[in-house]
């Protein structure tokens, strides 16, 4: 806030980047389901922030303000790009496959299946699931990011997990 008041926008952005880059990216990615598009939106969000910082009056908290910009930018990007891609489009799996230690083939297959199931969840449930596991499993943080009450996040998370467990059970039964 001091940097914003002193009109040192560049320094303010450098300080905000490590704290919010991943959160903004997660928010965009949970909605867009496309890594490239989510990165573009994240860049746009930080440029918008940089432009709007002098007008930030501190009435809302910085995180609320940033998440609002990120949500609006993601929704605009989503409206601008149809048809949607899906989560299963290689990118997440690439990240999983490059993790250390390398998971076994069975685990990779199982994770790819779960990813497809997450992809089929309703938008809000999918967003909550993705953000919850991206943000160190904090209900409060996910609630702030999606501008929802914590209770709603917990309910959505519970429903999503139940749905995923049930779908995974069905898949194993048919396999």
């Amino acid at each position: 806030m001091e940097l914003v008041r002193a009109e040192r926008r560049d320094e303010a952005i450098v300080q905000l980047l490590p704290a919010y880059r991943r959160k903004v990216f997660g928010l965009a990615y949970s909605l867009l389901r496309d890594r490239e598009a989510a990165e573009d939106v994240t860049q746009e969000v930080f440029i918008k922030l940089w432009r709007a910082l002098p007008a930030f009056d501190g009435r809302a908290s910085m995180s609320t303000w940033i998440y609002a910009i990120a949500r609006n930018a993601s929704l605009s990007a989503l409206r601008a790009r149809r048809p949607q891609s899906s989560l299963s489009d290689a990118e997440v799996m690439d990240a999983v496959e490059s993790s250390n230690p390398l998971p076994s083939a069975d685990v990779l297959v199982e994770r790819a299946a779960i990813l497809r199931l997450v992809d089929q969840l309703p938008t809000k449930q999918r967003q909550v699931i993705m953000l919850f596991y991206m943000q160190e499993q904090s209900h409060e943080e996910v609630a702030a990011m999606l501008a929802m009450p914590v209770g709603t996040v917990k309910t959505l998370l519970h429903r999503a997990r139940a749905r995923l467990s049930a779908s995974a059970g069905k898949m194993s039964a048919t396999a």
């Binding site: 990216f25 997440v92 685990v107 993705m130 499993q137």
Partner: protein, 139 residues
């Protein structure tokens, strides 16, 4: 595939826990911000110049309008002053002696004409000055 809750948690954390932007994200963003900053400075300069020009034009127009008003007032003053002056001269003339009356008969029209020309010349000179004055330029 059986997936108990703890397993599901593990899989979901593995799938989404490590998601992040590419490594060069910050570098690309800072490059874009630098470019934005330059564009921003140029835009601000243009805007300031435009505002200054508008302010200058408004000031010049206001000054011209004030001058025209002053000239009109001066012209009306001249006409207004010439009438009582004429009356004063006529009244004073009748009280002077025969010599003065003779002179006035001889030179009266010339004196009156010179006086009228003098009074009329003031606003005319002002108007001429206003017409021939070069406009103020900033650059």
């Amino acid at each position: 595939m059986s997936t108990p809750d703890s397993e599901l948690d593990k899989h979901l954390a593995a799938l989404f826990g490590g998601l992040d932007t590419r490594a060069d994200f910050d570098v690309r963003l800072m490059a874009r911000l630098r470019a934005e900053s330059q564009t921003d400075a140029t835009e601000r300069g243009k805007r300031a110049r435009q505002q200054e020009l508008t302010r200058h034009r408004r000031a010049v127009l206001e000054l011209q309008s004030r001058r025209r008003l002053t000239l009109r007032m001066l012209a009306l003053d001249a006409v207004g002053m010439s009438l009582p002056l004429l009356l004063a001269v006529i009244t004073a003339w009748s009280r002077f002696g025969g010599d003065v009356m003779d002179i006035s008969r001889q030179y009266g029209p010339y004196i009156a004409m010179s006086l009228a020309a003098l009074i009329a010349a003031v606003p005319l000179l002002g108007m001429w000055r206003e017409q021939t004055r070069s406009p103020i330029r900033l650059f």
